[in-house]
């Protein structure tokens, strides 16, 4: 164990080592096993389930190395499977214990069956019974494609069960795993074995967080690799082992992309499998994993580029083939996964001079522009433009694709030279513009703006302090126009006139209107809209709920299916979540400080000075804690309200569509609807941890039994993720 960089995918090497040591020193073996059992208990208590899987797998392989006696391993597995008999537990708990047993069998199934076939059969029967009766409501929410063809997106336990069944039928002959201990069998078989102590799985507790279920991602089969070694079938245990090991390698090396690529490409036994296809499949499987990928999205882009560099003669072709396949299947691909595909593909292309055979995708040009394929191409080109510039995009696509090219990201100033002379506010816009150019202060601008009439009020109003949409338009359009040159210019402008903006948007209507004006001005430049909305939130000119209401407003209906709108919404939710977390952390820190104070006081004895000072400090801390507690509650209330607004608006919009379709007898499954319902799903998936806190309210207020069952199904699938 001197190499600190232990690699789970090299598990059998380490077990062999332990086996040899045990053969030389029985006590060492015993104490090692005991230490491992202790660690296993710790990891289970600490919710470190993927680490626990490796520990159990390690222990199973120690059976193969004659360190652990097979019957005691079977007994441990029996204890694990008996979790399926527990009552009132989340399904994900029993799922995990079944998973850990099944996933160890490729390593140790043969040995266990040789020694204890009756018990093992009983065990497998119990597992089969459990798998038949468990709920699978969560599956549709986690599938990358809704279609069953060409590859069914199987629930992970179902797939693993099929693989184990096949392995059993093959009499546990497993040829993929490298087993160094076989070479040492003559030494190892002399060793004395240890019995595992009886192991009771720790009881379920409320703060246990079990791994979420997942769906097995498959995009290739043996027909896809044109030449060379054949890809193992989807229900072969080899497929399982290869995927496990490749995922392990990524988990070990994701921080160092060159090493990670090299390790993937030097996978032992690579000559017997179409390794490039496995690697590409595993990488996309992780990238598209729902709710979220195991690692940050950009890592996968960087990794694929390194792989292309190391295998320039073969990997780029596999990647192109994969891209083509995913393009062909866009119609049934989950919207969240399409988002990730857009981001990956555009970023990837930007590293390769945007070279792509666009003509191969000419079929999308004849389709309605809202259909998945042309929409995908359009969004990809949008993103490519953000990484380059408009003319570049015009240059890289064939002229036939012009309808899909993004708009030139120029602003739309309504008070410009071409403006109609009768446009309200036109003269005022010039005045304001001049004032700004002459370095007017916030107060001076507000004075100038006093003269702007309020189209909402016919008679004399409250002195011009209420919501005045025209004031907002005149000021903001002019300001944005003067600052249109770059992000930094616009940020400076917003900062400089923060006071004016705050004053103008004091009401909810004001906040909504500023977003409308922003959108009108920058509607050809979605990237600019995104960064400015971000700044407006961070400088508290608008609040998160205003952004949510704006996105669902009728004015935004035209862009409702565009990617950037959802990026803005999710970014907004994330800011809200980070804000709550920040205050929560401050509160926790203050509580810890107070605790320390109490301890200090208790331990310090009775020096008067010390007591007086510490009393003051304590008093201050207690006050601070009270303040922070209020802040946290207020922030959480705002957070809950944000989700309520979002879900409410979704429900209204989707119900309207469903009712309209029902009454006019039209098929409800339009492209718009698919986008809408999957965007709703996406809210749940991307923020599931936070949303789970508010389930009670959501169920009572919004997701009630009266809701249309199509919409309720999304909620129920979400609930099923942690049942």
């Amino acid at each position: 164990m001197q190499n600190a960089r232990l690699l789970p995918e090299k598990l059998t090497v380490y077990t062999t080592l332990v086996g040899l040591l045990n053969a030389r020193n029985y006590n060492f073996g015993g104490e090692f096993v005991e230490a491992m059992i202790r660690q296993l208990k710790e990891t289970l208590k600490s919710n470190l389930y993927s680490e626990a899987v490796y520990l159990v797998r390690f222990l199973s392989d120690l059976v193969n190395c004659h360190v652990i006696a097979a019957p005691s391993m079977v007994a441990m597995f029996e204890n694990f499977v008996s979790v399926t008999q527990e009552e009132d537990i989340p399904q994900v708990r029993s799922d995990w214990y079944v998973y850990v047993v099944l996933s160890s069998l490729p390593w140790v199934g043969k040995e266990l069956y040789e020694k204890k076939d009756v018990e093992m059969d009983r065990l497998l029967n119990q597992i089969e019974g459990y798998l038949k009766r468990r709920q699978k409501t969560h599956v549709p929410m986690l599938q990358v494609w809704t279609a069953e063809k060409p590859h069914p997106q199987e629930e992970y336990l179902d797939c693993l069960w099929a693989q184990v069944q096949k392995l059993k039928k093959d009499r546990w002959q497993e040829r993929h795993i490298l087993r160094p201990y076989i070479a040492f069998d003559s030494v190892l078989c002399e060793a004395l074995q240890h019995n595992l102590p009886p192991f009771t799985p720790p009881a379920h507790s409320d703060d246990a967080v079990y791994p979420m279920p997942h769906v097995v991602f498959r995009m290739f089969d043996y027909t896809d690799a044109p030449e060379g070694p054949v890809m193992p079938g989807s229900h072969s245990v080899e497929r399982f082992v290869i995927e496990e090991n490749l995922r392990c390698i990524i988990k070990s090396h994701w921080r160092e992309r060159k090493t990670c690529a090299a390790q993937l490409l030097s996978y032992p036994g690579k000559n017997k499998i179409p390794l490039n296809y496995h690697i590409v499949e595993v990488i996309f499987g992780e990238l598209f994993q729902l709710p979220s990928p195991p690692h940050i999205d950009v890592m996968y882009t960087a990794l694929l580029i390194e792989l292309c560099k190391l295998q320039p003669g073969s990997l780029p072709q596999v990647l192109a083939q994969a891209t083509e396949m995913m393009y062909m299947r866009l119609d049934t691909m989950n919207t969240t996964c399409i988002d990730r595909l857009i981001n990956w593909f555009s970023h990837h292309l930007s590293n390769f001079q945007f070279r792509w055979s666009w003509d191969d995708w000419a079929d999308c040009l004849t389709q309605d522009i809202e259909k998945p394929k042309p929409k995908f191409v359009k969004e990809v080109l949008d993103k490519c433009m953000r990484l380059s510039y408009h003319q570049r995009i015009v240059d890289i696509v064939p002229p036939s694709f012009s309808a899909l090219i993004p708009a030139d990201p120029v602003c739309s100033y309504k008070y410009g030279e071409e403006a109609d002379s009768s446009l309200p506010g036109l003269a005022m816009a010039t005045t304001v513009g001049n004032a700004i150019k002459n370095r007017a202060s916030n107060e001076e601008i507000l004075i100038v703006l006093k003269d702007v009439p309020n189209p909402n009020q016919d008679d004399d109003d409250d002195g011009g302090d209420g919501f005045n949409p025209l004031k907002i338009e005149v000021f903001l359009q002019t300001l944005l126009h003067l600052a249109a040159k770059s992000f930094s210019h616009s940020f400076s402008a917003l900062a400089k006139f923060h006071e004016v903006l705050k004053t103008l948007t004091d009401s909810d209507e004001g906040k909504l209107h500023i977003l409308r004006v922003l959108y009108e001005f920058w509607r050809n430049h979605p990237q600019m809209i995104s960064v400015l909305v971000d700044k407006l939130i961070r400088t508290q000119i608008v609040d998160c709920a205003a952004v949510a209401n704006w996105i669902f407003s009728p004015e935004m209906a035209h862009d409702f299916t565009r990617f950037y709108v959802w990026e803005i919404l999710h970014s907004t939710i994330r800011k809200m979540n980070k804000h709550v977390q920040k205050i929560q952390n401050e509160l926790d820190e203050a509580k810890v400080k107070l605790e320390k104070q109490h301890n200090k006081k208790r331990d310090s004895g009775d020096e008067e000075d010390m007591e007086k000072n510490s009393e003051d400090e304590e008093g201050q801390l207690e006050e601070q804690i009270e303040r922070l507690q209020e802040k946290v509650e207020s922030a959480q209330s705002e957070q809950k309200n944000l989700f309520l607004v979002i879900f409410q608006r979704f429900i209204m919009l989707l119900t309207e569509h469903l009712v309209r379709c029902e009454t006019s007898g039209v098929d409800l499954n339009t492209t718009w609807y698919k986008n809408g319902i999957e965007r709703l799903q996406q809210i749940f998936l991307m923020h599931h941890v936070i949303i789970q806190q508010y389930m009670g309210t959501l169920e009572n207020l919004l997701f009630t039994a009266e809701l249309d069952h199509h919409i309720l199904a999304v909620y129920q699938q979400f609930c099923a993720l942690q049942l």
Partner: protein, 214 residues
């Protein structure tokens, strides 16, 4: 109370060097047990326990990715010679920094492009485009500041060494933007590297300044 980003960010503690563990008994170990239990002397038994515990901890730490190499996040050899403060202060700031220097940009690369690329590793707090001191035009570098250290680290891992505007860009830790640092320090107003280079780079003003003058 606002949803303002915090500039805080503490660097993760560098991984401690793994102490060597020797679970293997030394070469002069007593003969293998033959049926009866072999009881070694008390103190060697204790050290075997400790070594075992360490060994298994390694296994778990290794599995938990606790001792993983993370070389892309390391600080480079470059140090800003104009830094106000001593070397110790500079090192400290670099280890905590959420700011990156970005080099080898094209003169035509915009703030918008930089923002799009660097947003892939997290929310960008600010971008300062580097300018020619004389011309006040972009001269091929910039600073990118994140709200958190973790996001900046991901940029070092996944964006450093990749392409922007078809050029391989390079990122490095920066001690923090200060007014004045947005200007090139070359004699002609641009970056020092553009003073002396011999090659022709159309995205960086053509030939190096020295070559242009000759």
């Amino acid at each position: 109370a606002g949803i303002c980003g915090s500039v805080s960010g503490s660097a993760p503690a560098p991984c401690p060097d793994a102490p060597a563990a020797e679970p293997c008994p030394p070469a002069s170990a007593p003969p293998r047990p033959s049926g009866g239990a072999w009881r070694p002397a008390t103190d060697t038994h204790f050290s075997l326990q400790t070594q075992l515990h360490t060994g298994v901890s390694f296994l778990v730490t290794g599995l938990n990715n606790g001792n993983r190499s993370d070389s892309y996040v390391d600080v480079s050899q470059y140090r800003d010679q104009h830094f106000k403060g001593n070397r110790y202060e500079q090192e400290k700031l670099l280890k905590q920094s959420c700011s990156l220097y970005v080099g080898n940009l094209s003169f035509y690369t915009t703030e918008e492009q930089v923002h799009e690329l660097f947003s892939k590793s997290g929310d960008v707090k600010r971008i300062v485009i580097g300018l020619d001191k004389v011309k006040k035009t972009a001269c091929g570098f910039c600073f990118v500041e994140y709200y958190t250290r973790a996001d900046a680290e991901n940029a070092m891992r996944f964006i450093n060494g990749s392409r922007l505007d078809d050029r391989i860009i390079r990122t490095d830790w920066d001690a923090g933007f200060k007014e004045g640092r947005q200007f090139g320090r070359g004699k002609s107003g641009g970056q020092v590297r553009d003073e002396y280079r011999q090659d022709y780079d159309p995205a960086r003003g053509g030939y190096g300044k020295l070559v242009q003058k000759s």
